[in-house]
């Protein structure tokens, strides 16, 4: 090889390396500046979701929304999001927050306060309960996307056949279920299907029983657990002795939402407790054998008490470590706009967070259940709103699961122990208050 040829060859090689370098390193950098990373879970109606995000991109040329899909379980999704926040990951801009997290994310300095973007007048257009959940120490950290509350679904056909009105009290529900089970003689039929696995959903389900007996989980002012109060324990005992032992099958102790819903949509459960999305799912003939035979009412209460529904739902939050909070806000604003929430409500049956949509004729025509659900949503009870909610929840999960999974559990002793554990965690907050 001559010297000249070698030189030319070297030049060509240099050029190739340069081009490769640009393609591999510089080009993605230029693109990354307009990339918005959204950490979400898999939606029930994926095409609608994709379409909405495509619309946002169309309105903001040069912006690419990258979706990172996390696990569906709230607990596991929490671990994913908090890990990114703890590592101060600038890759994540917008994320979903369960209704129980804003206090924690705010106290830990993870979520960006949105007061500058999200005016008080605008906040008034949303349901009060989720807005309150998104507020911590007087500042707002999230924009409500969906709102959820526990509802009772029932088999209209079976109740009519046996001449029962929808139950208003828990003992009535148990009585009805036992009668129907005895007369139907279907070995596969079960009376009650709900979420009793040891996980966050257990706290939601059990809180509804406790509150609808006039009990409570904690005293917010005194920062004290109230699990050991007779009313709270009475409700837990009822679940163990009547719901689990008499009308449910044992498998319920391992059920989350999908398993319990599947049982109901397969026509194997008389009563079913779930969030509002189950309405759409159980009335869809493609996935449900009981489409058209489903009724929905507020959850029962104990005699002389008021019904209670746990507040659930999802918020959009912005990471404090996002490099592009302005654009992130535009995305959040778009996703929580009246237009987008309406689209999602029409397609998925999830409860929108904006009040006005509950009077929207188009939505009410498609999902008439929203009319009656509106009151439940406005009255729904929040779970303890505190930065130490996760430790409290783990104590509650352990307590409730131990109390109901073992037939002769010593509820008094378990409640005392759980109460003591909760008080120890709550004492951590006392330090701050005294300062």
């Amino acid at each position: 090889m001559s010297l000249k040829a070698g030189c030319r060859w070297r030049k060509a090689r240099l050029r190739t390396i340069l081009i490769l370098f640009i393609v591999l390193f510089i080009a993605p950098l230029a693109e990354a500046q307009t990339q918005l990373r959204f950490v979400t879970w898999r939606s029930e109606a994926e095409q609608v979701w994709e379409q909405i995000i495509a619309d946002f991109e169309a309105r903001h040329p040069g912006v690419k929304v990258v979706q990172e899909v996390g696990p569906h379980s709230s607990t596991e999704f929490h671990d994913l999001v908090t890990q990114k926040l703890r590592n101060r990951d600038p890759q994540m801009d917008v994320f979903f927050m369960d209704v129980i997290w804003p206090a924690e994310f705010a106290a830990a300095n993870w979520a960006l306060p949105l007061d500058a973007f999200f005016s008080a007048a605008e906040r008034n257009l949303f349901l009060a309960a989720p807005i309150q959940a998104d507020t911590y120490d007087g500042r707002i950290y999230g924009v409500p996307m969906f709102v959820d509350a526990g509802m009772l679904y029932y088999r209209k056909d079976l109740l009519e056949k046996h001449n029962f009105p929808p139950p208003r009290t828990w003992p009535e529900l148990v009585r009805q279920a036992r009668t129907i089970l005895a007369q139907e003689r279907d070995p596969y039929l079960t009376g009650y299907s709900a979420q009793f696995k040891q996980y966050e959903g257990l706290v939601c389900n059990m809180m509804e029983f406790v509150l609808s007996n006039g009990g409570s989980l904690w005293n917010e002012q005194r920062l004290q657990s109230t699990l050991d109060d007779p009313k709270a324990k009475e409700a837990v005992r009822f679940v163990r002795d009547q719901i689990i032992r008499l009308i449910a099958n044992r498998g319920i102790l391992a059920y989350q939402e999908p398993e319990s819903l599947a049982l109901f949509t397969q026509g194997k459960a008389i009563f079913h407790r779930n969030w509002p999305y189950a309405w759409e799912a159980s009335n869809d003939p493609k996935q449900s054998k009981v489409a058209g035979k489903v009724g929905i009412v507020p959850l029962p209460a104990f005699p002389g008490q008021r019904s209670a529904a746990t507040l659930g739902g999802w918020q959009l939050g912005i990471s404090r470590f996002s490099r592009n909070p302005q654009l992130a806000w535009q995305f959040v604003q778009f996703m929580t706009s009246s237009e987008t929430q309406k689209r999602i409500a029409l397609e998925t049956g999830r409860g929108p967070a904006r009040k006005a949509l509950y009077h929207d004729p188009e939505i009410l025509k498609k999902s008439p259940q929203f009319q009656s659900q509106y009151e439940t949503f406005t009255l729904a009870a929040p779970r303890p709103r505190t930065p130490v909610y996760l430790p409290l929840s783990n104590i509650l999960q352990r307590y409730f699961s131990s109390a109901i999974a073992i037939a002769d559990s010593d509820i008094d002793q378990l409640a005392r122990a759980a109460s003591r554990d909760m008080d120890r965690v709550l004492d951590l907050l006392r330090d701050r208050r005294e300062r």
Binding site: T75, H78, D79, T82, Q83, R86, E104, A107, A108, N109, P187, Y188, K197, Q198, Y199, N249, R250, G251, I252, L253, A254, Y255, E259, A262, L263, P387, V388, L390, P391, N394, Q397, R398, S401, S402, A405, I406, S409, A417, D421, L428, L429, D431, R432
Partner: protein, 296 residues
């Protein structure tokens, strides 16, 4: 005396750096954090040195003690099963027959599948409505179906079964390596002396494969003590907290609840337990490996 010119040091340096950065530093950091009270969600509490407080809390925390005993039961039940099953598999795989290569590869599949995937599979197998476990037991009589993952008495056993299924192959692999090191002449000599198959196994195979057995036991014990993914996918610690293994509890404290100090204390305890067991086994193993046996 060695100086920096000595090439041995230069060859060793990369591995020292690697171990230092990826093993030693995290361990020391866990030790350090376990003496602090640090709660991520309450940043105003700061990072306060609290001495042995986390450890004092740990030994009086009934949940931690409960999960420690669950972990001990888990290790005590799964490891002997895994090593015995592994030995049986290794003995079969060590024989020569048609398709042995294939079988050796197939046996390793459970171990090669990511634990999260196999845990999900086992969750389906133990499902109370359509699980294979129930189908094998009861066939079409679905009203008799059990819900193993919902029963406080059965959930831990279900997880143990999944662990045994998954990791016996790993034990088999180690034991098979040990078996292959046994010279064939010993068996030939024994055959000439008219020894039965059992005697050959008892007096040749077993003594010579002992180091491999102990090694498998060592690896499995340490791994079983650290089991996390099975619980995470299959039960999340329930029902009634019966599958709340120590490592999972520590994870929940550190990562879900943000209690870094307390979570680190749990991690340190798991580490010390593994270290103690490792030293114990290595002492047993050492005598076997170095041939310092009593008869010689």
């Amino acid at each position: 005396m060695s100086n920096s010119q000595d090439p041995v040091w230069r060859f060793l340096l990369p591995s020292f750096v690697f171990v230092g950065v990826f093993s030693l530093y995290p361990i020391l950091e866990s030790f350090r954090l376990s003496f602090y009270r640090m709660i991520l969600t309450l940043p105003w509490l700061g990072q306060k040195f609290v001495g042995w407080e986390n450890y004092r809390d740990l030994i009086t925390d009934p949940v931690a003690l409960g999960s420690l005993s669950t972990s001990v039961i888990f290790v005590a039940v799964t490891t002997p099963f895994e090593v015995l099953l592994g030995l049986a598999m290794a003995l079969v795989l060590n024989e020569s027959f048609r398709g042995r290569g294939w079988l050796r590869a197939i046996v390793l599949i459970p171990w090669a599948v990511p634990t999260v995937v196999s845990s999900q599979m086992w969750r389906f197998i133990f499902n109370d409505r359509y699980g294979l476990f129930n189908y094998l037991l009861f066939g079409d009589a679905t009203q008799l179906y059990w819900a193993p993952l919902a029963e406080p008495g059965l959930a831990l056993m279900s997880i143990m079964a999944a662990d045994i299924w998954k990791t016996s192959a790993f034990a088999a692999l180690i034991i098979l390596a040990g078996l292959q090191g046994i010279p064939g002449e010993l068996y030939e000599a024994a055959s000439i002396d008219g020894a039965s198959a059992w005697r050959k196994f008892r007096h040749i195979t077993l003594p010579l494969v002992k180091p491999a057995l102990l090694l498998a036991l060592l690896f499995r014990t340490i791994d079983a003590l650290k089991v996390f993914d099975l619980v995470f996918v299959m039960t999340q610690g329930g029902p009634a907290d019966t599958t709340n293994l120590l490592q999972f509890y520590g994870y929940k404290k550190s990562f879900a609840e943000g209690m870094i100090g307390y979570g680190s204390a749990i991690a340190v305890v798991v580490f010390l337990l593994s270290l103690f067991l490792s030293v114990l086994y290595i002492r047993l193993l050492g005598t076997g490996l170095l041939g310092r046996e009593r008869q010689t």
